[in-house]
């Protein structure tokens, strides 16, 4: 599997947004404030693998997803999908690539056209991408509905007549219509109740296995990532700070931010009442990313050199790497970070 070329290869991806300026700042010719949403992201993803991307609001995970499908133009770096640099293609060729990459969004209330029946919503991508003729379409629509566990009777229904879970099933069916190879799920279960969330998560895992799909699964919920992903990338202020097999990253976190996220995650276990927050302070604005290590302003293990070096990826285990100069950092998951003494490379466990 490792010898095979990855389906998706992202290298040094950068996306910045120019913000709107006040009249005064435009007249005084100050440089426009720039928001760095994605700041040098690299990863590769093999076929039939699911990569979970986890991060808090403003970490750049959604902008990253949009760059992958070229819904926004990146400012730097490359996205290579199955040997094709999607930044270098246009027109028909871009459309051909886009058919193979489909997105499921968070909110099934806004991602479906309220005036289109479920049947019409599913037939549209079939026609647009030339996957099925007008004649074949009804049979294919029925197949898609069956695939996502909906009765074929919903074909004539409108989105408003469906529950949130049913709507998300329709959105998934629609994304599967053009027979994609890569599915990008952007907070696809975040708007759903627990009982429905489990149904949709199971469905997504089942579909990726059955159809041999590759998936990028974006979520702010660690527990959800834990239940679907093979590998995970933790994002903070536009950068992946730690990545690796989900079993390793979640049980043996190497970046202080990952450890803090895991400690802050409320597990349904009544005895684990913590009274000390896992992490202090607010995150800095993406308008002014701190120099050196971007996490240093909130890190309990910060050292002087953290302000000077933007830490490169350091490999801690096969496929597991973290951007931290005080590696290995390994508190047990759930443990509160109270020990401010940094550990140096090679010291301790």
């Amino acid at each position: 599997m490792t010898a095979e070329a990855p389906l998706l290869e992202v290298t040094d991806l950068v996306k910045r947004f120019d913000l709107r300026r006040s009249l005064r700042s435009r007249l005084s010719r100050d440089p426009a404030p720039r928001l760095t949403a994605v700041d040098g992201v690299s990863f590769s993803l093999g076929r039939n693998q699911t990569l979970g991307i986890v991060g808090e609001s403003g970490s750049g995970k959604t902008t990253l997803a949009r760059c992958l499908t070229r819904l926004v133009e990146p400012d730097g770096g490359s996205v290579v999908f199955d040997g094709t640099d999607i930044g270098a293609v246009a027109g028909r060729e871009l459309q051909r690539v886009r058919r193979r990459i489909q997105v499921v969004f968070q909110d099934p209330f806004t991602s479906l056209n309220p005036r289109m029946t479920v049947g019409a919503a599913l037939a549209e991508p079939l026609r647009v991408h030339g996957v099925a003729s007008r004649k074949e379409a009804p049979a294919r629509v029925a197949e898609l509905l069956d695939l996502v566990g909906l009765a074929s009777t919903v074909t004539r229904r409108f989105p408003r007549e469906l529950s949130g879970g049913q709507r998300q099933r329709v959105a998934i069916a629609r994304s599967l219509a053009p027979q994609p190879e890569l599915l990008i799920a952007d907070e696809a279960v975040s708007a759903l109740d627990v009982s429905i969330q489990a149904q949709i998560l199971n469905l997504l895992v089942d579909l990726t296995d059955r159809l041999g799909l590759t998936m990028v699964f974006i979520s702010h919920q660690l527990s959800v990532i834990a239940s679907v992903a093979d590998t995970v990338a933790v994002m903070y202020l536009g950068r992946i700070v730690e990545s690796g097999p989900v079993g390793l990253v979640f049980t043996d976190p190497q970046h202080p931010y990952t450890a803090a996220l895991l400690a802050a995650n409320p597990e349904p276990v009544p005895e684990r009442r913590r009274r000390q927050p896992a992490i202090r302070g607010d995150k800095p604005t993406p308008l002014e990313i701190p120099t050196g290590c971007r996490f240093r302003t909130r890190c309990a293990y910060v050292q002087e050199r953290c302000a000077e070096v933007d830490p490169p990826a350091a490999q801690v285990a096969p496929g597991h790497s973290a951007h931290c100069v005080v590696l290995p950092f390994a508190p047990s998951p759930g443990q509160t970070i109270t020990d401010p003494r940094p550990r140096r490379l090679g010291e301790g466990a």
């Binding site: 627990v194 527990s223 802050a264 276990v269 009544p270 684990r272 992490i279």
Partner: protein, 335 residues
Amino acid sequence: MTTAATPEARGPVLLEVRNLHTAFPASNGAVLAASGVSFSLAARETKGIVGESGSGKSITLRSLLGLVPEPGRVIEGEVLWDGRDLLQLSSTELRAIRGREISMIFQDPTSSLNPVYTVGEQIGEILRVKLGMGRRAAQERSVELLDHVGIPAAKKRAGSYPHELSGGMRQRVMIAVAIACKPRLLLADEPTTALDVTIQDQILALLAELQNEFGMAMILVSHDLGVVAQNCDSVVVMYAGHVVEDAPATALFDSPRHPYTVCLLKALPSIRAPGVRGRLAQISGQPPDLARLPEGCPFRPRCPSSRDACVTVTMELETVGPAHATACPFPAEGA
């Protein structure tokens, strides 16, 4: 109706809710958002109310202080506070209790704060109106309160407008407003749902700290079982307007008895089992439609252990253990 917890075991009862019914008009009569809700709360206790959307948890909380949004109305029940029934009070009497003895914080601090006043002015207003403080004293106390809830450079921040603060800071301001009069009970409606997980963690730690300091009880409404597990002494689980289970947190999470609670806990993904790739125990079917509830137990159509007798279930709470009650006559085996 029996309330689950035995108050003797937990200290004096602070608040007792009996048989609360809150209704909203609908095309075919009325739907009951809260349907015979009963529970009690001891002084200093933290009680969680957990449930999915439409379960009636927020409406129950709002009913306690007469804050049910129009056209909803409390149609039956008692809310006993200091020997008085809050539901029988006039709006003037209720206003005297709100903010002073019982405070409330909401999910979205952005819409609860006035955008055209500084946060200092908004806290000061509460102090002047509720405690009759002078302008100068109120101003000073506002800064103290902001400092108390962990806002750095409180004096400077008192002059900030809500939009100049982050979501976490705004929620801290809301908490400062809520504790301004040192209430004995804080009602918190999804206070951390809109926040990032690390900020949620900070806010929950702050609430626990303030509770300890003021000896304040709290009712925490949340959809997040993890938040409830780590912050509550006891928990009420709601489904379709009914309390289905009421238990100490340890009992509820270690040996849930109502099939809905059992299913809900099993459906939760966990960071403790990473890389399992799916196969969460899912609850079949769709959430209930309050206008078309089945006869008997509302969870019946989705329940893995439903039987014929479930059609006649009255949803009365029956005691199944110490301070532990469930509305299911055929409860799951306790662990």
